[in-house]
Amino acid sequence: MTTGERLFKFAAVMEAIRSLGGKVRPFGRGVEIGFQFSGRNLDDKGLAKVGALERQVILLNLRDTQITDAGMPHLAKLTQLQRLHLERTAVTDAGLAYLSELKELTYLNLYGTKISDKGLRHLINLRKLENVYLWGTDVSDAGCAALQKSLPGLRIDRGVDLEVIAARVSAEKKEAAAVKRVELQWVPAGGVEPPNSKTGDFTSVSIYNQRKRSVKLFWIEYGGGRRFYAEISAGETLLRNTYSEATWLITTMGEVPLGYFIATVEPSQITIPE
């Protein structure tokens, strides 16, 4: 091929990639191409165009695209590829086989794919691999341990265990519920006007709406006047940060006062009666 023909072919491929929504930038000795924003409709056929660039592609981002295992053979031609994003695609273990000869790969992102331990076995000869991302995949401890053994320098990131987080949050809620709270006095409307709030210390109040309808919660300002804070549904318990000496007014949804209470310095609780 003459230089002119080579340049023409290159320009045609770049144009095709651009029309598929790929963003191309210079990167190192070649280019980086990203389809993750405007190129998410990219499919296996479109991937063939990327494959045509062969050694020029150093970074390729296919996150959220429509590629499948059928498109992966095109990636085998990208022999200089260093960073590959396949997260949140339909690629499976079979597709990873086509990466096994990409010896320059340092970064591989597979989070949110259905790959498993079988797929990891295709990566064991990628000696330059530094980081692999596996959150939300079907890999197991055993599969990861085997990969780690083949590539001791590799950082395998399996992400957070959402169940562990859920358990921690649930324990925090239990702890908060177990806090001993003093019962506040409920002052029904019709008598004394709720006093203005005074400044105090940081504390909390747990407000249980025993009524069959929602209510509104207002804070009485230091200078008088109401400030809307929340709606509390029937049967709901609202845990509210407050300062001690704060006056809280409860009204109907139509803002007719029902009663008020004043916070104390200790964590407190109040029931809005029927």
């Binding site: 210079p26 924003f37 859920a166 210390d201 940081f202 804070y229 940060n241």
Partner: protein
Amino acid sequence: MLNLQHSRRAFLRSSAGLAGLSVPTFFSMQAQAATGSRVRAKSCIVVYTWGGMSHLESFDPKPHGPVATRGEFGAISTATPGMQFCEHLPLLARHSEKLAVVRSVHHNQGGHQQGMYISLTGRAPEGKIRAKSRTSWPSMPAMISRFQDPMAGTPGAVRLPYSMYDNGKLMAGEYGGWLGEKYDPVLMRTPAGKPFAGVSRYTDPVLNLKLNLKETRMRDRRSLLERLDRNLNEARPGVTALNQFDHFQKMAADMLLGSPVRAAYQLENEDPRLRAMYGDHIGGQSLLLARRLVEAGVPVVQAVCSAGDLAGGGGDNWDTHRGHFPKMKNRLLPLFDRSVSALLTDLEMRGMLDETLVVLLTDFGRTPKINKNGGRDHHPAVYSVAFAGGGIRGGQVYGASDESGTEPAELACSPADLHATVYKALGIDHHAELHDREGRPFRICDGEPLPLI
């Protein structure tokens, strides 16, 4: 008012450039390409602890400093030998290998407006500054967006969850300034918690009585919004009037509805366990939204990391002139610790940290001297900021303050130097020259990058 048609055309024009590059981006890329194949940060999340976060109770504790000033808290070791944080940042301590902490930042602007202005724009305010003035300096997020090339239908910069006000006055420094209206970051409410959906009573012009002279006017506006609510809920379920108040004014409808950004905005689509990891408060949910927006293609997001709860409760900001220690211990530090740690964990496990620069900024630090109300006052003479991701080398401390945390002891640097560091990480030439609409040239930054990369 932004001419929405014009900006849409401009967006389409800008994505139709040379193989997807706009001209300024292409030339700045030329400068970067020569430096090899280090992957470049493509997005930036600015976490802003508004009000002035005490350096002594965060990244620069002085457990052996003078008794009168070192405060009530101790220091803890982090995952990095020799680097200690305040004892109330245990989760961030585990992330220290990702963080570059700068302990020697300083400026001379003591008020909130001036401190916030210099922190976000890199420039000392000149004369009287007004928020939406077109002669004021653009914020760093606005400037970044000038050099990025997001896909059509995506805002160039987003700020959330509300505008910063001080004592009823809208503050300057977080807008597009002389770059023009097109580069004003788009305001988005964090859609978490009902019925406020991320509105802060302290700052919102509809709900804050200080900003709205008559209570009746506020009542009228609320009932108007309630009526609007009903109409809009029919048109677009789940989006309330309160949370579209500002951003529909600024964005073409098709821009907001451009599907990756819109999908990112729907926080209910996120796994509730992941939402819980960030924390059940406006700061946490704002950082979660920031990650989602970056993943959807927004190049820069500025999130005020405030400690307000989801019902728009007070206690939002870090300006602890009174009762500093209980506020930091019970409210501010735990929320900051949890939500920033969640953001770093989340970015890392998605493999996004290399390409996303996270910057923790604040107005200024707080005085070593503790006042008679048990508080610390404004202190720009030295304070701390931190960077993570985007190619920044973690596990390092740059610069130091003196033994009481009063002034820099070594490697003093300015907010402009921090900005130069951000621009460098993003592949933007910090000496680039731009022109305002009158054709006057401005060099985008007067600082020099710190050697953190």
